[in-house]
């Protein structure tokens, strides 16, 4: 379908406004506080990897980034969730410019890691939830999927920045409809890189520990 230039400009404007509105709503609800503990908010290419306890996680992380960083940062999100309705597709694709990956190995036509590497090669930073799904269990973190390792191996120059998102699961517990306004904190840790001879399990364990270490407030 060929969109006319006017139409596509309108869509872009609508996407920008929707992004601002969602961001403003997130600020109103959570007054997010970014603590740059191990790294400065400068425009380096990065993969922000965070704990995933709520659907609002990536919105909050995106909101907490300074505007110049936000523009070049794309969340990695599940295609099987974001393409289920036209509104979701608009928000996922056009508002947040998400890298949509298919979590179902049997159904997918594209390799998620290849998609993410392609986005990195285009200069984007990424927001990634290595647990692969929302954590509604009692465990602090679910076991990491291996995507983070493959990315670290494919593009070793990119900073892997752990981000602990605190309190968002209390703002919107699973199954609730109306969020309750509470202050959320995002703690950005020191960047990780894959050591040349580090195994997958060792690296994922180290990444998990780096994320968990941010949980206690500094």
């Amino acid at each position: 379908m060929a969109a006319s230039p006017l139409n596509s400009n309108l869509r872009r404007l609508a996407a920008a406004l929707t992004g601002q509105a969602i961001s403003l709503f997130a600020r109103f609800m959570t007054a997010p506080r970014a603590i740059w503990q191990g790294i400065e908010p400068v425009p380096h290419q990065r993969i922000y990897f965070a704990n995933h306890s709520s659907n609002g996680d990536f919105v909050l992380l995106w909101t907490a980034l300074p505007a110049p960083l936000r523009r070049q940062t794309r969340p990695v999100a599940a295609l099987d969730y974001w393409l289920t309705s036209p509104l979701r597709a608009f928000i996922g694709r056009e508002v947040f410019n998400a890298v949509l990956i298919d979590r179902r190995p049997e159904a997918r036509t594209e390799d998620p890691v290849a998609q993410m590497v392609q986005a990195l090669d285009q200069g984007a930073s990424l927001i990634l939830f290595p647990e692969g799904q929302r954590n509604s269990s009692d465990a602090t973190l679910l076991p990491f999927k291996s995507g983070l390792y493959h990315l670290a191996k494919a593009r070793p120059g990119v900073d892997l920045v752990p981000v602990w998102i605190a309190n968002l699961n209390r703002v919107m517990p699973k199954g609730e409809v109306i969020p309750v306004p509470l202050i959320c904190t995002l703690t950005f840790g020191a960047p990780l890189h894959l050591d040349p001879d580090e195994s997958k399990d060792a690296f994922l364990a180290r990444a998990t520990q780096a994320l968990l270490a941010l949980k206690a407030p500094a």
Binding site: A31, V180, P181, I183
Partner: protein
């Protein structure tokens, strides 16, 4: 809503802020040119935040009753968000917390805006107090139940009920003072905040003996006495813009500066218990809304009721 007295007070505050900004910049140029002195940097951040707060307040005054009520409703919202972030609650309290923000807070300010004194003075202490725990109880979780409902009620009392007594001053009817009630708000906030600032200044200059070493290292007897007395002296000198005689103004000032001090003390105890230094981060240099409002929140209901009993006809 504007009166010459209000303009005088705002002009005075503006002059103080201009002086403070000049002093802050001179100190920065001399002692912290590259931003290396945290005390100077914090001082300048505080002064800049004061500009924003005074401008917001002035705009609300110009907008009249709706503006002031709306400003304090928003302050209550931000304060409640800070307070409830730190209280004990679990999944079962979700609906009662939602009710705090989106039902009780708007209703309290609605009753206020419609001047329904009989309702807004008991709505939270009676109706919210009795009905909110029911919402939590119906969800079935009994773990730490009394702690959970008490802390939620405390949050509402401090952040919504007490704070709403600042705009409530607009609805008093004082013979001979018609149309000038906004002065009462400006006067209350000015004296109490001035006392906070002067306690800080006196404490930094000659503070030795700590009032409550376990609570706050920065609260000293020298700061307390110097700050409350000097702020009360300045407040007394401004009696001509209030309904009070000089002696009455002095008494009122002593009362509200002391209440303001108690507010800071009590809120420090809560912060200390929860292991935090500031309630929030939205007011640069000061911390959160509650860090700045704690003294006014404690002083406002007492100031309101005494003014109402003695001077108001309603």
């Amino acid at each position: 809503m504007t009166s010459p007295h209000l303009l005088w007070l705002l002009a005075g505050v503006g002059t103080i802020l201009v002086l403070a900004s000049i002093i802050g910049q001179v100190l920065r140029a001399r002692l912290s040119p590259a931003g290396e002195n945290p005390v100077i940097e914090n001082l300048n951040a505080r002064i800049n935040a004061w500009w924003v707060m005074v401008i917001c307040l002035a705009l609300a005054f110009i907008a009249g009753k709706p503006g002031v009520v709306l400003l304090f409703a928003l302050c209550s919202f931000a304060a409640l968000r800070e307070f409830l972030t730190l209280t004990t609650h679990n999944r079962a309290d979700h609906w009662s917390l939602v009710a705090c923000f989106f039902l009780i807070l708007p209703l309290q300010y609605w009753f206020l805006a419609t001047d329904w004194y009989g309702m807004y003075s008991i709505f939270i202490p009676v109706y919210a107090f009795l009905l909110l725990p029911v919402v939590s109880a119906l969800r079935g979780s009994t773990r730490e139940f009394l702690i959970r409902v008490s802390e939620t009620q405390w949050a509402l009392m401090i952040c919504v009920y007490c704070a709403s007594h600042v705009p409530a001053l607009l609805y008093l009817q004082i013979p001979g003072f018609e149309g000038r009630n906004v002065i009462l708000i400006a006067y209350l906030i000015f004296v109490v905040q001035l006392s906070d600032v002067l306690q800080y200044v006196w404490g930094k200059l000659i503070g030795r003996t700590k009032v409550a070493p376990n609570l706050s290292p920065s609260k000293t007897w020298e700061g307390l006495i110097g700050g409350t007395l000097s702020a009360s002296a300045i407040g007394t000198a401004l009696y001509w813009m209030t309904p009070f005689s000089p002696l009455q103004a002095a008494g009122m000032c002593l009362l509200i500066t002391l209440m303001g001090f108690f507010g800071g003390l009590v809120m420090s105890a809560i912060k200390r218990d929860r292991g935090i230094k500031d309630w929030g981060h939205l007011i640069a240099g000061h911390g959160g809304f509650l860090d700045r409002l704690d003294s006014v929140i404690f002083a406002a209901p007492i100031f309101f009721h005494i003014t109402r009993w003695v001077w108001s006809t309603t």
